[in-house]
């Protein structure tokens, strides 16, 4: 077997024929198997040898989540019992009030409330672009949601974010744009920035590309004003914010990792993947040549992932050839 097939398999450009050859070669001897999987492990290790801000952020985020999970296991000790009692009392009062207000509601004719629109991106691997009523463009990352009114009325343009989004805000000095997260609020006039919230919402990170933003605590108290190239990390519990200079592109390039094609025929998709990765694709497209598809994939996941998705979407086997 041409052993460079190993490298082509690892980089996702091996043909089906080559994969079969590799499989046979692996089954031939335990030395081959060991050699291959050692090389695979070394190949995989490439992500770990260039630690950057992303990895230290990953550690911090993970650490905060695990601590939150542990906190749910903390046994109640004597000190907190009194506070608990007060909390139960308050909760009971609220529930009581709740019952009362509900019964009142049934007697009074209902006024139609403003409808809020919630934009959700639940897909695991694509970015959603959303235009808000004022023309502001929001790039909503995976597992994120944005709530905004169907129309901006009032002094502020107020939206709520959970997850991660990049904002390109339309300038309107009379009506500041405010993004509310669990940990804090970000107030802007016309500007480009990215906000990330940790899964439990307790920590928010704001990265400013251009313009200027003001960070406020949930109750409106001013925390800090950011300049382009700065990033602020806010925690819900403390007033402390960390501000530091970052390479902004590192934190916002996720917008462009996604390649999206809408209403295209399969040969366009094939052409894009071929030129992007430098592979030759073999696919029997006679049955589907006039079909139009919406297709998207993440560049960094590599050719084999894109081809797998193409195959899954069309139901036709896809292969690479040399």
């Amino acid at each position: 077997m041409d052993e460079t097939i190993v490298y082509r398999y690892l980089s996702g450009t091996a043909t089906e024929e080559e994969k079969l050859q590799l499989l046979d070669w692996l089954k031939t001897s335990p030395e081959n198997k060991a050699a291959f999987f050692d090389l695979k492990a070394i190949w995989h290790a490439k992500h770990s040898i260039s630690p950057d801000n992303r990895t230290s952020d990953q550690l911090k985020d993970s650490l905060s989540v695990i601590n939150e999970r542990i906190d749910r296991f903390v046994p109640i000790n004597k000190k907190t019992v009194n506070h608990l009692w007060k909390r139960w009392a308050v909760a009971a009062a609220i529930i009581l009030l709740g019952f009362i207000s509900i019964s009142i509601l049934y007697k009074v004719p209902k006024v139609t409330p403003d409808t809020d629109i919630v934009y959700v991106n639940q897909s695991p691997d694509s970015v959603r672009k959303v235009f808000l009523p004022d023309g502001t463009l929001v790039w909503l990352n995976t597992h994120s949601s944005l709530t905004c009114p169907s129309e901006f009325t009032g002094d502020q343009r107020l939206v709520e974010l959970q997850g991660e989004a990049f904002f390109e805000v339309v300038k309107d000095t009379l009506h500041p744009f405010v993004v509310k997260t669990k940990a804090m609020m970000v107030k802007v006039v016309g500007t480009s920035f990215c906000i990330t919230t940790s899964p439990d919402g307790a920590i928010s990170k704001t990265t400013l590309q251009s313009g200027s933003v003001q960070l406020l605590r949930a109750d409106g108290k001013k925390l800090v004003t950011l300049k382009p190239g700065q990033q602020a990390v806010c925690s819900e519990e403390t007033d402390r914010i960390e501000v530091r200079h970052v390479n902004v592109d590192e934190y916002i390039s996720w917008r462009f990792d996604l390649i999206t094609m809408s209403g295209v025929k399969v040969f366009s998709i094939i052409e894009s993947i071929e030129s992007l990765y430098g592979v030759n694709i073999k696919m029997d497209t006679t049955a589907i040549k006039d079909n139009r598809y919406n297709f998207s994939f993440r560049k960094h996941k590599g050719a084999s992932d894109a081809l797998r998705r193409l195959s899954y979407m069309t139901g036709i086997p896809v292969d690479t050839i040399r």
């Binding site: 198997k33 999987f37 770990s48 990765y277 050719a303």
Partner: protein, 204 residues
């Protein structure tokens, strides 16, 4: 290693700061290891569950415990469970690829796999970096473009003006050399064994 032992002691006494220190020392390596077998979401879940268990069962921990070894082993066992359950679920992969990947599951046992121990138990990432630096110049030039910049072979061949098969050969050769350099301990031992079994006579 006085520091490490006292960390475990503090952990056993329920010291949360000690737990956080342990997390900071071990999370990235353990998570990178999990990423080898699982996708990002599963990997994060498994790693978190393993650390959570470490905390919940802290009182029963052995003072001489190697925390890293314990974490890697726990991640490995959880990963195997998930992989075995998912065996028939994933239609994305061709059956050939599935078979190849499955062969690796039992290979990556952290207690028996040298390369795993060297990469994740002993944190030899600095050694990996040094090994890359010590590759022959041309080989390293090609390898780094592929390995660190994710550049496809075709682009490398265009950029450096060399044939595609030369590119593939350089990269494959680099990987093999890295494997040899990282397996240094074993290779050295083998050499020593050969030397001794020759009665100390000149091998050459």
């Amino acid at each position: 290693m006085a520091n490490v032992v006292s960390l475990v002691e503090r952990l056993k006494r329920g010291d949360r700061a000690a737990f956080n220190e342990i997390y900071e020392l071990h999370y990235l390596s353990v998570r990178f290891y999990a990423d080898l077998m699982l996708d990002a979401d599963d990997a994060e879940d498994v790693v978190q569950d393993v650390f959570l268990n470490l905390w919940l069962h802290r009182e029963g921990l052995d003072d001489t415990l190697s925390i890293r070894g314990y974490l890697l082993r726990s991640v490995y066992n959880s990963a195997l469970n998930i992989l075995k359950k998912r065996k028939h679920a994933n239609d994305y992969y061709s059956s050939c690829e599935k078979e190849i990947e499955e062969m690796g599951y039992d290979y990556y046992d952290p207690d028996s796999c040298d390369i795993i121990r060297r990469l994740y138990n002993e944190d030899l990432r600095a050694d990996l970096q040094a090994a890359i630096e010590s590759l022959p110049v041309r080989c390293r030039e090609v390898f780094v473009l592929s390995y660190l910049q994710d550049m496809p072979s075709k682009e490398i061949s265009r950029k450096l003006g060399i044939s595609l098969s030369t590119v593939d050969n350089h990269i494959y050769s680099a990987l093999k050399q890295l494997r040899d350099k990282l397996g240094g301990y074993k290779a050295g031992l083998t050499l020593l064994f050969l030397f001794l079994s020759n009665g100390g006579k000149n091998l050459f």
